[in-house]
Point group: C2
Chain length 156, copies 2
């Protein structure tokens, strides 16, 4: 029999900063429309307290990076992506405005020096708070056939 | 000049439950090693308050689902994946034990009925708290060439 987990029983879901992301993007308008399409290198700094959790990360060619969208409007339920110009639900877009402002970037890992990772493909504001890093596994994470009907060019 | 964002200035990063995930996995030992390799269907229930944020989601073939790993040990910095048997940093594994217990599943979207999504490819415990849904975009999220040196079969 399924044992339901109730949100009330879990208590507050509070995140801790585990590092900072250094990028060339000081203002929102500096951020490329898709980080993946930009050649810029960014640096992920993991706080020393968590550095040991990076053990063997240099064995990964690509990573998922989750960070906090501190400027997000958490009350917005729809967004209008620039290329499309039509309103969609925020869960059908990658808009930073969403109930839980978690950003997800799939990036290429280029270099690891102690607690600092050099990556390509981020679209974070400089100084963004790092929340999690996960190895990207082609076997479970790559869906080249995925489609979003309302978009034509990979923009979401 | 880069304007640094300090964690202290952002204040508490607290998440809100936006729904629940219904799966056939009542206990941790029921969960398939990789959700993607299982044919089981799971249901994502978005709370009515957030249902409008699903507008147009049926146009997406694949989604990212982020949920809370409420049983995680947040103090663990290393994990020993079963297939590998060696210790790696948690940021180089998909272990549920990590400083911020955020789970990320890339899933196939099969059906949308009002505020309920039927998906394939989840590895969540039944009743897990839903945090975010994002459209999977092949153009920015698919890296079929990604490799993790210490793993042989897509397990991380």
């Amino acid at each position: 029999m399924a044992m339901m987990i109730l949100a009330e029983e879990i208590g507050p879901m509070t995140l801790c900063p585990i590092g900072e992301i250094h990028t060339p993007y000081a203002r929102r308008e500096d951020i490329p429309r898709q980080g993946r399409l930009s050649p810029e290198l960014c640096e992920i700094e993991v706080y020393p307290k968590y550095a040991y959790a990076l053990k063997d990360i240099e064995q990964c060619t690509h990573l998922f990076v989750i960070f906090w969208l501190h400027l997000a409007d958490r009350d917005r339920l729809t967004a209008t992506p620039p290329l499309d110009g039509k309103e969609h639900g925020v869960f059908a877009t990658r808009s930073p405005n969403r109930p839980n402002p978690l950003a997800l970037d799939a990036v290429e890992l280029l270099e690891v020096t102690e607690n600092r990772l050099t990556v390509r493909g981020m679209d974070a504001l400089d100084g963004s708070i790092l929340l999690d890093i996960k190895p990207y596994s082609a076997g479970i994470d790559s869906f080249p056939q995925a489609r979003i009907a309302w978009q034509k060019d990979g923009e979401a």
